[in-house]
């Protein structure tokens, strides 16, 4: 009779108690796995959002990430097209990269002079086709239906603004923005004034050929690379919700060519970042290393650096840390409950089997043998509870995922399906199982030690 078989039979002696203990472990495993799967899904969702908009890696001028917001134009990358071409040619990078595209960030003031309102904004010039391609990235299989950018197929002077910008610039009406409260009438008399002549002249000079006039027009005032003011008249095609009010209130997207004309005029255009989107997030270390090698050799005349999406989006790290903290807190609570449940079960078993312990010791089983017997029982409870917990958690997660429930996560403007990722999350599953089994073994250890240290004569006398 092997120790394992004996432990299993002993567990089956008091089936109700063993079942209750296993149930507690199942509930514990489920709680940990379902929350873990939920937070994992949020992590993947955030990552997908960031990667779809800003890529996995960005090549920037050194210092741009920290200081560039003050004067982005100064940190423009010269010959960015050569860098992009080199990346596309590179035999190491090319298989990993799905999109490599330039962007230009511009800080400025957007004004609706017809309404007499303006506000500071942060505009991003982008290559629309590349941006649309990036939106297709879906490495984690979310049930997404990516729509192309509203800038798709629009004239070069078109722009998309955040709903917050639309609200402040009083463009909700023309842009048909819902839930957009209008401010009370102001008394300073600015409203309705025409565009000042100098600004109007600047805007006309920057007007690209074939520009489309519309009901929603704004003027974007920005500093050129030389420090002089420049204005672009933009036709706003849509207001979109970014999900975060602070971003919604400053967001402007426009064609890269328009943004470059605004900042660099007739000079050679630059980009503040070259965005790289990879096939898989796990390729980041290899791609980053190769990029740094490439930049240090072929483009050493410019101080360039490579930043990953986690560095570029501190919120991502903060969100992960927050969920990790909550997950850890829940795991500790569950662990404590399991610990006391298994410990209680094993303690009762020790008391009930005191005479047996004495008998086994009398016929020659060592103290370690007694200890091993009870620890095996704890281990078995842990393995059975954790395994059933995983199976049931996968089932529950599947039910939730098929239920059609939706929610709007922070930082998003639209609802997403409520998804719990348990199936396929090997690390989460294995980690939870190992954790629960360890807790069960530790829980059984103390009663097992007590059993092993029993005086044989006292144990045999036990009634």
């Amino acid at each position: 009779m092997k120790t394992l078989a004996l432990a299993l039979r002993n567990l089956l002696r008091n089936r109700r108690r063993s079942l209750t203990t296993v149930l507690a472990m199942i509930v514990g495993a489920q709680t940990v796995l379902l929350f873990g799967g939920y937070s994992r899904n949020i992590t993947y969702g955030l990552q997908t959002d960031f990667v779809q908009s800003g890529g996995h890696l960005q090549i920037q001028r050194q210092g741009y990430f920290l200081y560039g917001a003050g004067n982005p134009a100064v940190y423009g990358i010269a010959n960015y097209a050569d860098v992009i071409a080199a990346v596309k040619r590179d035999s190491v990078l090319a298989p990993m990269v799905t999109v490599v595209t330039p962007t230009l960030q511009v800080g400025g003031i957007a004004g609706n002079f017809a309404a007499g309102v303006s506000r500071t904004v942060f505009a991003r010039g982008l290559v629309v086709e590349d941006a649309n391609q990036m939106r297709l990235w879906n490495d984690y299989g979310f049930p997404l239906n990516p729509r192309p950018s509203p800038l798709t197929g629009t004239s070069a002077d078109s722009a998309v603004i955040g709903t917050g910008v639309a609200r402040v610039l009083q463009l909700c009406g023309p842009l048909q923005v819902k839930n957009c409260p209008q401010p009370r009438a102001t008394t300073d008399g600015a409203a309705g004034k025409t565009l000042p002549a100098d600004i109007a002249a600047l805007a006309a000079a920057e007007q690209p050929p074939g520009s489309a006039g519309g009901d929603a027009r704004i003027e974007l005032l920005a500093a050129t690379a030389g420090g002089a003011p420049n204005v672009a008249a933009l036709n706003v095609v849509k207001a979109v919700s970014i999900g975060v009010k602070e971003l919604d209130d400053v967001f402007v997207a426009l064609h890269l060519s328009q943004a470059q004309r605004l900042v660099y005029g007739n000079q050679t255009p630059r980009a503040t970042a070259i965005v790289l989107q990879l096939t898989h997030t796990r390729q980041i270390p290899a791609a980053k290393a190769r990029l740094e090698e490439l930049l240090a050799t072929a483009f050493k005349d410019q101080p360039l650096e490579v930043l990953d999406y986690e560095t570029l989006n501190p919120f991502y790290g903060q969100a992960i840390a927050m969920f990790a903290t909550i997950f850890g807190f829940i795991a500790v609570l569950i662990g404590a409950i399991v610990l006391f449940t298994v410990s209680n079960t094993m303690s009762m078993a020790v008391v009930e089997r005191t005479t047996e312990i004495g008998t086994l010791r009398a016929i020659g089983l060592r103290r370690s043998g007694i200890r091993r017997l009870f620890v095996w029982e704890g281990l078995l409870l842990g393995v059975i509870g954790a395994a059933l917990g995983v199976v049931i958690a996968i089932g529950v997660a599947s039910l939730v995922n098929r239920s059609g429930l939706t929610w709007t996560p922070p930082g998003r403007g639209d609802a997403v399906p409520l998804t719990i990722r348990v199936w396929g999350e090997t690390r989460l599953i294995v980690g939870t199982m190992i954790g629960l089994v360890l807790v069960a073994v530790v829980s059984a250890w103390w009663p097992a030690r007590r059993a092993a240290r029993m005086n044989i004569v006292d144990a045999l006398r036990h009634v």
Binding site: M1, L6, R9, N10, L12, R13, T355, E356, G358, T359, L360, R361, A362, I363, G364, L365, R366, R367, S368, G369, I456, V457, L460
Partner: protein, 237 residues
């Protein structure tokens, strides 16, 4: 030369009840002869179970020296003592003390697992012992499916499994009716002869006393007399 199975010299044992010491055995000197059916008798509380526990190496004396199967055991480390019990001693208990989750076969097999007997030899030994105690048809029965007498037969087979030099039985017939008790006594006697093993039995059952080769009488923790039947009789030393 017939070396004694057990030798006790000036053995004393006192139990502590709260802060009060209750002497259980006092200055015990005794030799258990090999291949004998030795019965320790005496009134309740006289110390016979304590004496049996000391001989069985499941308790340690406060004073004195105990030699079992040629080995001084009183200062043997716990693991070594466990191994010693597994190899040299067998136990039969008043309440049978079989493991309820194991079948008759598995209960008898268990001590052989502790002494790491090879599977084939183990099986042969277990089946032979169960046949010897008349339970060949009950090998897959668990203790709960056996009568008291059958359980005690399994316990006897278990005690004999590791081929011990000494077999200890504490009131083995106390929980059996007289007819079953008589059968168990006869079986023990038969096994003692067939297996050439020393039996030390604590009992006040007259049927067992009648079977004794050596009868040790104990009273208030002291040996009153040792009767070596078929010859010598000695008074307590």
């Amino acid at each position: 030369m017939n070396m004694p199975s057990v030798t006790l010299k000036h053995v004393a044992k006192t139990y502590r009840l709260d802060a009060v010491g209750v002497p259980a055995l006092n200055d015990i000197n005794l030799e258990i002869r090999p291949r004998r059916f030795t019965v320790i008798s005496g009134p309740s509380g006289s110390g016979k179970t304590t004496l049996l526990n000391l001989i069985g190496c499941i308790d340690r004396p406060d004073e004195g020296e105990i030699v079992v199967a040629g080995e001084p055991v009183q200062r043997m480390p716990d693991d070594a003592l466990s191994d010693f019990r597994a190899r040299h001693l067998g136990f039969i208990f008043q309440n049978f003390n079989l493991l309820p989750v194991l079948t008759a076969y598995e209960n008898v097999e268990y001590p052989l697992l502790l002494t790491r007997v090879a599977p084939a030899k183990r099986k042969e030994r277990v089946l032979a012992l169960l046949a010897a105690v008349g339970l060949s048809d009950k090998i897959h029965h668990r203790p709960g499916q056996l009568s008291g007498g059958q359980r005690q037969r399994v316990a006897i087979a278990r005690a004999l499994a590791p081929s011990p030099q000494l077999l200890l039985a504490d009131e083995p017939t106390a929980n059996l009716d007289s007819q079953t008790g008589a059968a168990i006594i006869a079986l023990m006697r038969q096994m003692q002869r067939e297996h050439d093993v020393s039996f030390v039995i604590s009992s006040h059952d007259p049927q067992i006393l009648a079977e004794a080769d050596d009868a040790v009488k104990i009273h208030d923790g002291r040996i009153v007399s040792v009767e070596r039947r078929g010859g010598e009789a000695e008074a307590a030393r």
